[in-house]
């Protein structure tokens, strides 16, 4: 597959690995933000090829993982209503709420459907005028443009039976929350390539400067990640803290302007709680007042629901780079992909699921 296979060349990967070994003289801790990158790193064993001085910790960039528990409970409550067709990306269906998950609501007779794109949910609303169609609109800056378009399109079509249950979150405020913590271990960031494809990377220079931390926009294939790691380590070794772009084939400094424009028309910044991490100021988006008719939380009056987390789950510490999945006492025992206790065990983008899937439960873990 063009633009995929060539970035998986083993010979070229070995060159980067050798170069990283060559320039590394001290211990460094790097964080990849995006769960998709975590997945590639663990799948291809990239962390095991690196010098022992380099530790990769896994960031909060897993939409399923950071969506607040109470929002999942609200989704469950809405999905149970008889007139509702509840639509979602597949990953969200298995995330445990306080008591159950969406798949169980479906098994009990709820009309819960998996869609590939939010526009499919709009189409369902058009075709089912006697039903309320609700789309579970979660995710980072990558899913925001599609969801903004879905709302905008529903408005153009004059649909009154379409709404979204939304908890959009933003990457830069989360990076700042991690860097600003007194316990922070992260010395360099691999910024999430596709978030930057949408948003550009104009938001990062102030962060790099304020916290003296290199930030390298990085792609998703093994060669991308190795080059991103190489560029970050090189900066650290040379005492630089700049913003660089490894993923030049898909990311520009300004990002996707039409997407940023529509996001700004449909959504506005708001404080958001992150599952496992807690509230982060101005770290999310909500519908602008002109679009509140499409807000499922208001439409179904579930604003009062609150929820408490399972105390054994250490997902929050994992997503802030303080611990690794195998440090969790439940990992691979009570908590498995078949019976997830916490959200990072559900999604392919969750660090716990990646460690479990690629057999990092036992011997291969590099301490």
């Amino acid at each position: 597959m063009k633009y995929v296979d060539e970035y998986r060349s083993e010979a070229d990967a070995k060159k980067f690995v050798a170069a990283i070994h060559n320039i590394t003289t001290r211990p460094w801790t790097l964080m990849e933000i995006c769960g998709g990158q975590t997945h590639t790193i663990i799948k291809f064993g990239i962390d095991e090829l690196l010098p022992k001085e380099i530790t990769l910790v896994h960031g909060p960039g897993c939409p399923v993982c950071v969506t607040p528990l109470e929002l999942i409970d609200k989704a469950l409550e809405i999905a149970r209503q008889p007139e509702v067709i509840f639509t979602s990306f597949g990953d969200m269906l298995r995330v445990p709420g306080s008591n159950t998950d969406l798949l169980s609501v479906k098994a009990a007779g709820g009309d819960v459907r998996m869609v590939y794109s939010p526009l499919d949910a709009v189409k369902l609303a058009q075709n089912n005028p006697d039903h309320e169609v609700v789309f579970f609109a979660v995710g980072f800056e990558t899913t925001t443009p599609p969801n903004a378009m879905a709302v905008w399109q529903a408005q153009q079509l004059g649909l009154t039976n379409f709404s979204i249950l939304t908890s959009h979150v933003l990457v830069p405020p989360a990076m700042e929350a991690i860097l600003g913590s007194p316990h922070n271990l992260v010395q360099g960031f691999l910024a999430a390539g596709h978030v930057c494809a949408v948003m550009g990377y104009w938001q990062y220079p102030p962060l790099a400067q304020k916290y003296n931390v290199p930030i390298v926009v990085t792609g998703f294939e093994p060669l991308d990640l190795l080059q991103g790691i190489y560029m970050t380590v090189k900066q650290l070794e040379e005492g630089r803290a700049e913003v660089e772009n490894q993923y030049v084939r898909a990311v520009t400094f300004d990002g996707n302007q039409p997407a940023q424009k529509l996001i700004g028309q449909v959504f506005e910044p708001t404080d958001r709680p992150w599952r496992g991490i807690g509230p982060i100021p101005a770290s999310g988006l909500k519908l602008r007042p002109e679009f509140t008719a499409f807000d499922a939380e208001l439409k179904f009056d579930v604003t009062g629901i609150t929820a408490g987390e399972n105390p054994v789950c250490i997902a929050g510490e994992i997503m802030q780079g303080l611990k690794k999945p195998h440090h969790c006492p439940a990992f691979g025992k009570e908590c498995t992909p078949e019976h997830p206790v916490g959200a990072p065990m559900v999604s392919s983008e969750g660090a716990c699921a990646a460690y479990y899937q690629y057999g990092r439960a036992e011997v291969r873990i590099k301490e």
């Binding site: 990558t142 599609p146 080059q227």
Partner: protein, 85 residues
């Protein structure tokens, strides 16, 4: 959810409310994709597609950058080194 996949645009059209849509080929599988966020895209371009939306056009010239980078490092002899044990 952030896993964008590159595919080749094979057709561009408009839907009933005037939004630019298209067909994109992902190594043999053709899917309907919204192209409204990449207004300058042409048939034959590669786009990164995410949940049914093209979010970026793959820059053909920049796509070889990583290999040039390796070559440069080679010339600077940064690669000519002790292999990891």
């Amino acid at each position: 959810m952030c896993l964008g996949v590159p595919g080749k645009i094979v057709e561009i059209n408009e839907n009933s409310i005037g939004m630019t849509m298209g067909k994109v080929n992902f190594a043999g599988i053709v899917k309907e994709v919204c192209l409204a966020y990449v207004p300058e895209a042409k048939v034959g371009d590669y786009v990164v597609v995410h949940v049914g939306f093209a979010i970026s056009i793959v820059d053909e010239a920049e796509a070889t950058r990583v290999f040039e980078y390796l070559k440069q490092m080679d010339e600077l002899a940064e690669l000519d080194i002790q292999q990891p044990e």
